[in-house]
C-alpha cells in the first residue's frame, strides 16, 4: 500500500457523499472474530501471534472478494505511517500502539479494513460515507461469510462469537454512526441527547473512539449490547434513533439562524478568518474552527469553500497527515506553524476554485 498517495486523498469516511451527509459523516460496522484454535491475542505468545498473522494474511490475500484487499505489516511500518492509518480510521489506536506481529488489510477505496491481532484476532470494519448502515452491514456480512469459509471461528451456540472481552461476545458487532452536531453543542442541548441515548443503552464517543473527547463536534453513536439480539435488531435500533438526532440538529440549526443569525455569522466568519490568518495552530483549535466553518457552509453563511474542501482540511491537518504532506517529521511547535501555513495556503487555493 502506498502510504504517500493514501495521504493525499480524503478516504471514504470524509467523502461527504451519501444520505444526510451534511450531518452524518459516516456509518460503520465492525465485527470481532477469533480463531478457535489459538488463545486470544493478549494471552498469545509472540510466536503464536506470528502464526495467526501469517495464516490470516494468507487467507485475506487469497479471498475471492471485490474490492481487493492490500496487506500492511504494522510491526514493520513506521510510527508515522501507523498514525496515518489511525487518523484515517482504518486502524485502531490500540492496534497501532501495541507490540508484536500485527497488521491490517485495507481495500484501496478504504471502505474495508481487516485488523489482525487487535484485542481479537480479527476485527473487520466496513465504513460508508453518510447514513448507510445497511449497506455497510451487507458488505461486512458478505466479507465475514467469505472469510469464514476458510477460517474456523471461535463460536459457541449459546454465546455466539467468542471474544477476548465479554462486552463483545454474541454477535461481536459494533454498529456506529458518526455525526457532526455543532448546533446542538452551541445551543447546549447535546447533554440532553446523550442522556436520552444512554437510557436506551447506546454509547456516545468522540471522533477517535473510546476515551477521546468530542473534538470538532463529531460524535460517534454505537450499540453496547452484543448478546441476545440479532445483528439486524442491533442495527435497526441505531438506525431508528439517528433520524431523530438529525431532526434535533436541523431544528437547532434553524433556530440559530432565525434567532441568532448575527452571532452565528460572526462565529463562522471569525473561525474562517482565524484559519486564513493565524501563524500557529494546534490540531485541537483547527478542529474546533473547522467545525464552525463546516456549519457555516451547511447554513450557506459562507461560500468561499465547499464541504468537500472542509472535510479534506479536517484530515490533512491531523498530526501524522500534516507530517506526511510536508515530507518530514516535525516536533509539536513546528507542526503548529506548518499547520497554520498549510491552512493559509490551502484556503487561498480553495477560495480561488470557487
Amino acid at each position: 500500500m502506498n502510504m504517500d498517495s493514501l495521504t493525499q486523498s480524503n478516504g471514504e469516511w470524509l467523502r461527504a457523499s451519501g444520505p444526510e451527509a451534511d450531518i452524518v459523516i459516516s456509518s460503520r460496522i465492525r465485527l470481532a472474530r477469533n480463531l478457535s484454535s489459538f488463545p486470544f491475542t493478549n494471552r498469545a505468545t509472540t510466536h503464536q501471534k506470528a502464526e495467526i498473522e501469517q495464516s490470516l494474511k494468507a487467507r485475506v490475500e487469497k479471498l475471492d472478494f471485490d474490492p481487493r484487499l492490500e496487506y500492511v505489516n504494522l510491526a514493520a511500518a513506521s510510527p508515522l505511517d501507523r498514525q496515518v492509518l489511525v487518523e484515517r480510521q482504518l486502524v485502531s489506536r490500540e492496534l497501532a500502539n501495541s507490540e508484536g506481529p500485527r497488521g491490517v488489510a485495507v481495500a484501496a477505496n478504504e471502505i474495508i479494513s481487516i485488523m489482525i491481532n487487535e484485542e481479537d484476532h480479527i476485527r473487520m470494519q466496513v465504513i460508508r460515507s453518510g447514513f448507510a448502515l445497511d449497506d455497510a452491514w451487507q458488505d461486512a456480512d458478505r466479507l465475514d461469510d467469505k472469510l469464514e469459509e476458510k477460517v474456523p471461528y471461535a463460536f459457541s451456540e449459546e454465546l455466539g462469537y467468542l471474544t477476548a472481552c465479554p462486552t463483545n461476545v454474541g454477535t461481536g458487532l459494533r454498529a456506529s454512526v458518526m455525526l457532526h452536531l455543532p448546533a446542538l453543542v452551541l445551543s447546549k442541548q447535546i447533554e440532553k441527547v446523550f442522556r436520552a441515548l444512554q437510557k436506551i443503552n447506546l454509547a456516545v464517543r468522540g471522533l477517535y473512539g473510546e476515551g477521546s473527547r468530542a473534538s470538532g463536534d463529531f460524535y460517534q453513536i454505537s450499540n453496547q449490547v452484543t448478546l441476545g439480539k440479532s445483528e439486524t435488531q442491533i442495527i435497526n435500533e441505531i438506525r431508528d434513533v439517528i433520524p431523530q438526532i438529525i431532526a434535533y440538529e436541523r431544528q437547532a440549526r434553524e433556530t440559530l439562524t432565525r434567532d441568532n443569525r448575527p452571532q452565528v455569522l460572526d462565529r463562522v466568519k471569525r473561525a474562517f478568518g482565524t484559519l486564513q490568518n493565524a501563524a500557529m495552530m494546534t490540531s485541537e483549535e483547527t478542529m474546533d474552527l473547522l467545525s464552525s466553518v463546516r456549519l457555516g457552509v451547511n447554513l450557506h453563511l459562507i461560500d468561499d469553500i465547499d464541504i468537500h474542501g472542509v472535510n479534506e482540511l479536517f484530515i490533512h491537518t491531523q498530526p501524522a497527515h500534516l507530517q506526511k504532506l510536508m515530507g518530514k517529521e516535525l516536533d509539536s511547535d513546528e507542526r503548529n506553524s506548518e499547520r497554520a501555513r498549510f491552512l493559509r495556503n490551502r484556503l487561498r487555493e480553495l477560495d480561488g476554485l470557487n
Binding site: S36, P39, A154, L162, L227
Partner: protein, 165 residues
C-alpha cells in the same frame, strides 16, 4: 437489587454491625466509591474485598480465586483484573461467574444472531488444536524439546487433516 442512594443496580453489599445492631447496605459501584467503600481497594485488595462484600459472597470469592481455565491457564482473578479472557474455553471454565456478568452487560444470555456454518463443522477438531497448542507452549517453557517437537508435528498433522478433511 437497586442501589439505596440512586437507581443503578447495586453491586456492593455490606453488613454493618453497630452496637450489636445489624444493618445491611447496598450500593452501586459509583455510590460505593463516594462512600469511600471501594477506594481502599488499592491498599489491600483481597482483605478489603472480603470485608466489603457480604459474608456469603466472601465464601464464593475464595472459590473464584482458585478458578483457573484448564486450557490456557488464566486464573479467574486475572480475567477479572484485566477484563479480558485468555482463550475461547474461558467461557466454559468461568461460566458460573461469567453468566451474571454477561446478563448485566447485555441484558441477554443467549446468542440469536449469525451462525458460522464452517466453524460448527470443525468445532471439535479446533478444540483439540487449542489444547495441543497450550501443551506445546508448556513443553517449550519447561524446555522439554522432544515433547515440543512431537506436539508440533501432531498440530501440523491435525491442521492439515482439518483443512483437507
Amino acid at each position: 437489587m437497586k442501589c439505596q442512594t440512586c437507581d443503578e443496580t447495586a453491586t456492593v453489599h455490606m453488613t454493618e454491625i453497630v452496637n450489636g445492631k445489624k444493618r445491611e447496605k447496598h450500593y452501586c459501584q459509583d455510590c460505593a466509591r463516594k462512600q469511600q467503600l471501594l477506594k481502599q481497594q488499592d491498599l489491600n485488595l483481597t482483605a478489603i474485598l472480603q470485608s466489603v462484600i457480604g459474608q456469603n459472597v466472601g465464601e464464593a470469592t475464595k472459590e473464584l480465586a482458585q478458578l483457573t481455565c484448564p486450557t490456557c491457564g488464566i486464573k479467574y482473578m486475572e480475567f477479572k483484573a484485566a477484563g479480558r479472557c485468555g482463550c475461547p474455553d474461558d467461557y466454559v471454565a468461568f461460566r458460573e461467574p461469567l453468566m451474571p456478568l454477561l446478563e448485566r452487560i447485555h441484558r441477554g444470555r443467549r446468542h440469536v444472531g449469525k451462525i458460522p456454518v464452517h466453524a460448527l463443522q470443525h468445532a471439535a477438531a479446533q478444540t483439540v488444536l487449542l489444547d495441543l497448542r497450550q501443551q506445546l507452549r508448556n513443553a517449550v517453557e519447561r524446555e522439554a524439546y522432544e515433547d515440543a517437537a512431537r506436539l508440533r508435528d501432531l498440530i501440523r498433522q491435525k491442521e492439515h487433516a482439518d483443512e483437507h478433511g
